[in-house]
């Protein structure tokens, strides 16, 4: 019921709100949800912490925009090229990185993504190198003779983003409620045990990565079309990979709604930091005088300190909310509903599980 109300509100929103900044925020939110949910499949369910997902994001964006700019292929055809490219590199990356486990897998995933970034950066004739690709305009989408959209306002991107976010949520739901979900989680919990229970580790890890890569690439395509400019550090850099992981860790890793909560925390936070609202808030609240030395320092530097603040946030979440904000809220709720029921207490007796 609540789901339908939220859905109806989201569908109706562009009709009610015309403020472009508000729509822009919502679009960023949808993008963050899609990226988090996409990463969640391989990182959250299958437990393979890839910190190289920028590779799929960037390749998706580059494939579509290059096809559009250099070959005049409309993005709704180009997107298939993007998907094919992302799936192809996911097979290559998977077959390299899945030979390794745990931290070694993480490092290898970063290394492979960096290799792709450097190739795109240096292969100037093909990718335009560090200058990136500036999208001139997207051809209008027509069905027969009827114009569906000319891409001139934010509204079509809003609905496209909403559809993308919803489809990643749906894919998460379908994966979790199928054999794949059980096998992915078994691999996350204990690879060797999973192997002995008839689970082909290579196949299922690569399947998780492929599904994840597909939707990461779609997010990249969406980003490229919406922002209209891509360059190697912007779409292929480590920042993008880390952001996808952060959305999940902060929201709640390995849950369907975790990345949504993570996006709801991170997107507003990054906007607040970008607009330097944090230092303004400190001045307005009278905690720091704007004219004091500290005030000046904060005003100049706080906007650039987003990485520092993300870092602090991650430390706080890991220390105090190991199941993410979503897990924390659930625990609070359970405690308030049944304050003294024995089953709501944490289970003790975990003899050899990880601390």
């Amino acid at each position: 019921m609540l789901v339908f109300v939220i859905l109806a509100a989201l569908v109706a929103l562009p009709k009610l709100v015309t403020n472009p900044y508000a729509l822009h925020l919502m679009i960023l939110l949808f993008l963050a949800v899609a990226m988090g949910e996409a990463w969640n499949i391989v990182g959250g369910y299958c437990g393979q912490y890839s910190v190289g997902h920028a590779a799929y994001f960037g390749v998706g964006a580059y494939a579509t925009l290059m096809l559009l700019q250099y070959r005049q292929v409309a993005p709704w055809w180009g997107v298939w090229g993007a998907i094919a490219a992302a799936l192809m590199i996911s097979v290559v990356i998977g077959s390299i990185c899945f030979r390794l486990r745990g931290p070694y897998f993480v490092l290898a995933s970063i290394a492979v993504a960096e290799i792709i970034r450097l190739v795109v950066l240096n292969w100037k004739q093909f990718t335009n190198g560090a200058e990136g690709i500036l999208l001139v305009d997207i051809p209008p989408l027509k069905l027969g003779q009827t114009l569906i959209t000319d891409w001139l306002s934010k509204t079509p991107f809003y609905y496209l983003g909403l559809a993308l976010a919803l489809s990643t949520l749906l894919v998460n739901y379908l994966v979790l409620h199928s054999k794949l979900g059980y096998y992915f989680q078994a691999i996350r919990e204990d690879q060797d045990a999973a192997h002995s229970l008839g689970i082909n580790l290579t196949f299922y890890k690569n399947a998780a990565l492929a599904i994840s890569a597909l939707f990461t690439a779609l997010s990249g395509v969406f980003y490229g079309l919406y922002i209209g400019f891509i360059d190697p550090p912007g779409v292929l850099g480590l920042d993008t990979s880390v952001q996808m992981v952060l959305i999940c860790i902060i929201g709640g890793i390995g849950t369907i709604l975790g990345p949504v909560v993570g996006a709801l925390v991170l997107v507003p936070l990054s906007e607040v930091l970008r607009a330097n609202l944090l230092s303004k808030a400190l001045f307005v609240l009278g905690l720091v005088k704007e004219t004091s030395r500290l005030g000046n320092f904060l005003k100049e530097n706080l906007a650039h300190a987003h990485v520092l603040i993300y870092g602090i946030l991650v430390v706080v979440v890991i220390l105090y909310m190991p199941d993410g904000v979503l897990g924390f809220l659930r625990k609070l709720l359970a405690r308030n509903v049944r304050p003294l029921a024995p089953s709501s207490r944490p289970v003790v007796g975990d003899l050899d599980g990880p601390a």
Partner: protein, 240 residues
């Protein structure tokens, strides 16, 4: 022909022979007890049989098929399942989900797997625990869960690696009854155990390993009287 034939299997780790010329055949329907002091190569042999290590030399033949180099998931699909000495519950999944993962080796339908898993838990009187997280079980319950989970993969040959280790006498007795019950259903079992009384009670055939080599084999009553076995366990002074 024997269900499982281990033919002159060697396993080297560097210069160390963890298994050296092991030759054992497991007949269909029997319980084979595998005993030996710590470090005698029992678990290594299990790992070689189930595909975790390829044997350095020798052959492992299951139902007439050569297993050498086959991955553990393939071995499981062929009808051989093992438990782990150090239990490996899928901690963040429920007990039912743990068993379902086993059952999914034989079906792709979640409903079929859920029914089979529930049936398995019921037959082991664990159905009230079905919705508990596996990470929250006691050690005795975890050992039972290990067995329930491998039984759900519908094996013909079960390899149990110290399922009674760390259990109190009542829990051990429950496992012994479970092993005998599994035998009645026609399954073949290879059991590693330190509890000699238990091994004597359940085994049809006992194989003794020592320092990676097969020291002796025979019916339980013969093996315990074998001077070489007594020496290996208790030292020279105790040989009458």
């Amino acid at each position: 022909m024997a269900l499982l034939e281990i033919k002159h299997v060697f396993k080297f780790f560097g210069g160390l022979a963890a298994n050296s010329d092991i030759d054992v055949s497991v007949e269909s329907g029997m319980i084979l007890g595998l005993i030996g002091p710590n470090g005698s190569g029992k678990t290594t042999l299990f790992n070689c049989i189930t595909g975790y290590y390829p044997p350095s030399k020798g052959e492992i033949i299951f139902k007439g098929q050569r297993l050498n180099g086959l991955q553990p998931d393939r071995v499981c699909k062929l009808g051989m399942a093992r438990t782990w000495q150090k239990v490996r519950p899928l901690a963040k999944l429920t007990v039912l989900d743990n068993v379902m993962v086993g059952a999914l080796a034989r079906t792709s339908s979640l409903k079929v797997a859920r029914d089979a898993a529930m049936e398995q838990l019921r037959s082991m009187r664990m159905e009230e625990k079905a919705q508990r997280l596996a990470g929250g079980l006691s050690i005795g319950e975890r050992k039972k869960l290990e067995v329930a989970r491998v039984l759900a993969t519908k094996p013909e040959l079960l390899l149990l690696d110290e399922v009674m280790g760390g259990l109190n006498p009542a829990e051990s007795e429950e496992i012994i009854q479970l092993i005998l019950q599994i035998k009645k259903r026609g399954l073949t079992q290879m059991v590693i155990e330190h509890d000699m009384k238990a091994i004597m009670r359940i085994s049809d055939w006992v194989v003794v390993l020592n320092s990676g080599e097969k020291l002796a084999e025979g019916e339980p009553a013969q093996v315990v009287r074998n001077p070489a076995v007594i020496t290996a366990y208790l030292g020279d002074a105790n040989v009458a």
